[in-house]
């Protein structure tokens, strides 16, 4: 761990100007009746200005908790930031007060959630909801905020925006609502957009549209995106760098091309192998590969490597200590002794 952290610090110091968000050794634990669940246990990652960082991993690996902690949207208690720092543009936001956090939310860091169907308040028109954010953060008047709301809807390709601002959420489809959510998150031009599985609840054609809009917005507004997903395909298409998480820890971090060409961690290899491939599936009758077993309990995680129980290359050393995140080639780090 220490080795990985010093490496992180060195690169971080060299590129502080480029770094927007720097999470170092973050530990977020949750108190339950059975004990502390270590949902995020020593995660370090960074997002550069204008880049798209993909964060992948299966359900329950701590992706969402990491993202929510950045905005301090975790309920505390039961949650607790046990250790670590989150630097936003060089400033540690862990000790900030709720009022200071509110001024960062959506003004500097926007977030889009997984569930577009329930993420909008049913009693207000979508225009009012976008306008509310603008009035809160930009101090715009009612009229000006509504006009900006219509502009935002136009930006995310909602047809007939000046009429649609006066519609209620139930008059929009799931994909449209997700676009409204994106418009809302982007209305104050944040420097970073956290997209927490933005396409999971949508069907495939709409997923592609939403991703396209996000890429377009990113280019147009010059912001960075932290894209949380469990779909490797989505990452391959949109991200420049990828962080693979497993059981509350970073397993591997690499530029996207490098990760798919040369995955070092057995978990990453498993993830890539389990992507359905159109060429082999059509010609041979091959069963889709899966990673056997399931994520260990984070209540009392194993002492050694957390993936050891499911790893096909497991060695006796793996069970003794957690392998530190080490750099194997420039920008490519892996937490495996292999």
């Amino acid at each position: 761990m220490t080795e990985g952290m010093t490496a992180e610090r060195d690169t971080g110091a060299a590129a502080t100007a480029r770094r927007l968000l720097e999470i170092a050794n973050l530990k977020v634990h949750f108190r339950t009746d059975d004990g502390w669940v270590r949902a995020v246990d020593g995660v370090s990652l960074g997002v550069d200005r204008g880049e798209t960082l993909g964060v992948v991993g299966e359900s329950g690996c701590g992706k969402t908790v990491t993202a929510m902690t950045v905005l301090k949207l975790i309920a505390m208690p039961p949650g607790k930031i046990v250790d670590g720092t989150i630097h936003w543009q060089g400033r540690d936001i862990v000790p900030l007060t709720p009022a200071e956090m509110r001024s960062i939310r959506s003004k500097e860091i926007g977030i889009v959630f997984q569930e577009p169907m329930t993420s909008l308040n049913p009693v207000y028109t979508v225009g009012e909801q976008i306008a509310e954010t603008l009035r809160l953060h930009e101090g715009l008047g009612k009229r000006a905020a509504m006009d900006r709301a219509a502009e935002m809807l136009k930006l995310v390709h909602i047809p007939n925006p000046s009429r649609r601002v006066n519609d209620y959420p139930h008059q929009f489809s799931g994909g449209m609502r997700q676009r409204v959510m994106i418009a809302m998150a982007l209305s104050c031009s944040p420097k970073l957009l956290i997209a927490d599985e933005p396409t999971t609840a949508l069907d495939v054609t709409i997923q592609a549209q939403i991703l396209e809009i996000m890429v377009e917005m990113k280019e147009r507004l010059g912001m960075a995106v932290m894209l949380i997903t469990h779909a490797m395909g989505v990452v391959a298409e949109t991200a420049q760098r990828v962080v693979v998480m497993y059981a509350g820890k970073v397993a591997e971090e690499a530029p996207v091309g490098e990760l798919f060409a040369n995955p070092r961690h057995p978990y990453t290899q498993g993830l890539i192998r389990s992507i359905p491939r159109i060429d082999t599936a059509a010609t041979h009758k091959v069963r889709l590969e899966a990673i056997p077993g399931s994520v260990p309990s984070l209540l009392d995680p194993p002492k050694g490597c957390r993936f050891a129980a499911r790893c096909r290359f497991v060695m006796p050393e793996c069970l003794d200590a957690q392998p530190p995140l080490r750099e194997v080639s420039p920008g490519h780090k892996v937490a495996c002794i292999l």
Partner: protein, 310 residues
Amino acid sequence: MAGSTLASPTASAGAPARKPVSPGLEAWRRFRKHRLAVASAVVLSVVVLAVLFGPLFWTVAIDEIDFSATLEGPSWAHPFGTDDLGQDLLARMLYGGRISLAVGFAAMAVAVFVGILVGAVAGISRGSVDAALMWLTDLFLSLPQLPLLLLIIYLFRDTLREWVGPEMGVFILIVLVIGSFGWMPVARLVRAQFFSLREKEFVEAARALGASTPRLVIRHILPNALGPVIVAGTIDVAAAIIAESTLSFLGLGFPPDIPTWGRLLFDARDHLDFAPHWALFPGGAIFLTVLTINFVGDGLRDALDPRRVL
């Protein structure tokens, strides 16, 4: 009337009524399909209009004593008959109805206000605050209401009468007392609504967009919790009218010169066998008002339930 209650937050926020799709208009559309509720709303409006404007047209004085016409049944001169002093019952009922309905609505307002306040604070805070407020609610629910009502009124009636006059004093006292015994169901309802609503994604989304907790409560959670509260409010109106009648019937309500419906029943009690009309008309008025209010509440519940697709 039904539609405007929910439409107000949206209307005030400046949404032009371009298409009939706002939640308020949608609720009104559904309310209209509930025939009994619509009929009840009409009857209730007639009653309300009658007590508001009736005395302007039926100008017989309520305290005009006429010993030549005591305990008379309904006639053209006295459509609802007269009492033992020859006073016109229609005039007395129109005037008394104002008090009865005013008590009903004012007590409902008190109950709903206190209930929303307690329920919202309990619902948004976790742990000890919530627990303490719910103990308070359970405590109030477990108190025997009628004996306590009688005791409070007996104790404080004279003090308040000295302060703000006999009529206003009793009015305030009765409204506060009835209201303070009617807020518990509203508080529980609001708390339960808050518990489910505060976990909703749109609340999380609003927080992620930088809304403070008071703003979340007032702008995002409360408007979504109001539907059931409005329904509970209508039932509170009916309960308050009944409670006022009970108090008046027991002789602890308004002074004898203010003929609320309950007071009229109290006065008619000794003459039931030879002047039944004296009790029947005020009793019927209470019955009709409470029944129609409950039906309107029923209709509102169906109209405001977002899960119902009609």
